[in-house]
Symmetry: C2
């Protein structure tokens, strides 16, 4: 019979998950970590609940763990920070299997190792529903903090990679019989289950921006609101992965690119020449997709003239982006 | 009709609770905080679940919030650190009233203000059960970190205040009809509902120790295990508040002092002369209660000879402390 959380108890489970933490960290009331001189501390938190943010239907525990870690690391990347570590608070019903918990931690640590960071603390307790609370912290050069509020008219708007792939991967997971032969099928699914945080971007100059965890359109909207500016976007330049482009209609692909979310790319606003440099450095998927304007609207134009222009007023929500 | 979480939505609720955070922090993917040169970062986490860690029966939301903040600040105090801030992750059923959530935040911020710190980030999401996840972080001089593993034979064992009061306060809350005229009744209840974190202690020399959140006996046991030493404690010297001493039998008071928990005092091990100095500085309730030994046992002696000596073997749990 499979070992359950209630069989090993909170202390027994803590011992098992401590195997996923650096041993120097374990055993005191709190973790102590070195800091770099001249850097500021960056802190971000997420709470994920079973059935709301993840589900065994689309996410094995390794993927739920990876995604939770990646989402928090993405918030650090969106501030221009480098990660120092994460803490993991776990609420668990007694009937959850110990191996499920170990696979969740395995997923988190696999993601963290990719970025040379670790779980440095946490807590486990009983709860009627699986709840994963992650706090990530990192360090940033205070002159290189990426803020939403710093976009200026004339700035180029850069995406660091493709949008829509994660939503496409979710669609394939929800409908396993669809397109079994689709080229790039595994890649789209992997993009959903094991997304990357763009901690590699670290622009070496001040810029405005955020990550696209809630969708590319939402990121542009949030930046424009915080900076009190507008934007002009060219739908032909928004990068969509060839696997997605070859699968669904251009309209569907654009919907997922704009509103799908969870691609965990960065949306950055910076002077045109620096933007060109950055896009060249980042390579595939990265592109200049538009310009910050002094208008109070976000315009979605089509440089090929196929689609009529659309526009969004900033004080309306992004859910109206499509219809206006 | 009372406004509920489901009436205002996650975004509406976030706006309301942001009123409890410093405005400079709100509005980006993560909070950015200054750090002091030469200090290390200290991080600790707790997850609290409704019905497991708090209950409307004994804890109004202000108290649940205060206690959650105090427990995490106490972990910082137990490392010799000063607080930089906390993040709060909240899982909430839709039917919880908005005022309950605001009162919870009010309790947290009241506690934090006492120590000149603040809520600097967080997340709110739907959950079938109220879950409060707190991560506290602070800074410590790396040469002044208090660790469990650094106790040495000959060290004096210091408590920074009274033990047993929190458990006594809980008893009064659970049995509201008991002892309505008891002197110090309100004080014992307040000690349970609004405990203080001993961030004022900050010993100006290296010492071993931890906080007594899981009980004084457990703290001694954990320190002895981590340091591979033993301890000799005098039950006559373990400080018990006069209000508790005047209420229950000496045996009951000692049980609560040893095993009650949640007093959030510090248990520190340091050379005798420095211990004397510290106890004088801290005043009321602080005392030298015993000595670290090279034995592999914890002995509880009675300098008045009233009780027989008791002893505990380190590889048995503290739950056997009483019976041995």
């Amino acid at each position: 019979m499979e070992l359950r959380v209630q069989d090993v108890g909170e202390q027994g489970l803590l011992k098992r998950v401590q195997a996923f933490c650096p041993s120097a960290i374990v055993g005191d009331d709190a973790a102590v970590l070195p800091t770099e001189p001249g850097k500021s501390l960056v802190v971000t938190s997420d709470v994920l609940v079973d059935g709301v943010h993840f589900s065994d239907r689309t996410t094995p525990p390794e993927s739920a763990g990876w995604r939770a870690a990646a989402a928090n690391l993405s918030d650090l990347a969106a501030m221009g920070a480098s990660p120092s570590g994460i803490t993991v608070g776990l609420g668990l019903p007694g009937e959850v299997s110990v191996s499920w918990v170990e696979r969740l931690y395995q997923g988190m640590t696999s993601c963290l190792q990719r970025y040379d960071t670790a779980i440095v603390g946490g807590d486990i307790c009983r709860s009627p529903v699986i709840t994963v609370s992650i706090t990530a912290f990192g360090q940033v050069d205070p002159t290189r903090v990426i803020r939403r509020s710093m976009a200026q008219p004339g700035d180029a708007i850069v995406v660091t990679g493709y949008h829509g792939s994660s939503r496409a991967g979710l669609e394939l997971l929800l409908n396993p019989d669809v397109e079994p032969e689709l080229e790039g099928r595994d890649l789209l699914i992997r993009t959903h289950q094991y997304p990357h945080a763009r901690l590699d971007v670290l622009p070496p100059f001040p810029c405005a921006g955020m990550d696209s965890s809630d969708g590319f359109a939402d990121a542009v909207l949030q930046i424009c609101r915080a900076s009190r500016v507008g934007a002009r976007l060219d739908r032909q330049r928004i990068s969509i992965h060839p696997a997605l482009r070859n699968w669904v209609s251009p309209e569907q692909a654009m919907q997922w690119a704009l509103y799908g979310g969870e691609d965990f790319e960065l949306v950055l606003c910076l002077p045109e020449d620096l933007a060109q440099e950055l896009v060249e450095r980042l390579g595939e998927g990265s592109a200049i997709v538009g310009t910050i304007t002094s208008a109070q609207t976000i315009q979605l134009i089509d440089s090929t003239g196929t689609h009529p222009d659309e526009s969004l007023t900033l004080n309306r929500g992004f859910q109206h982006f499509q219809g206006s």
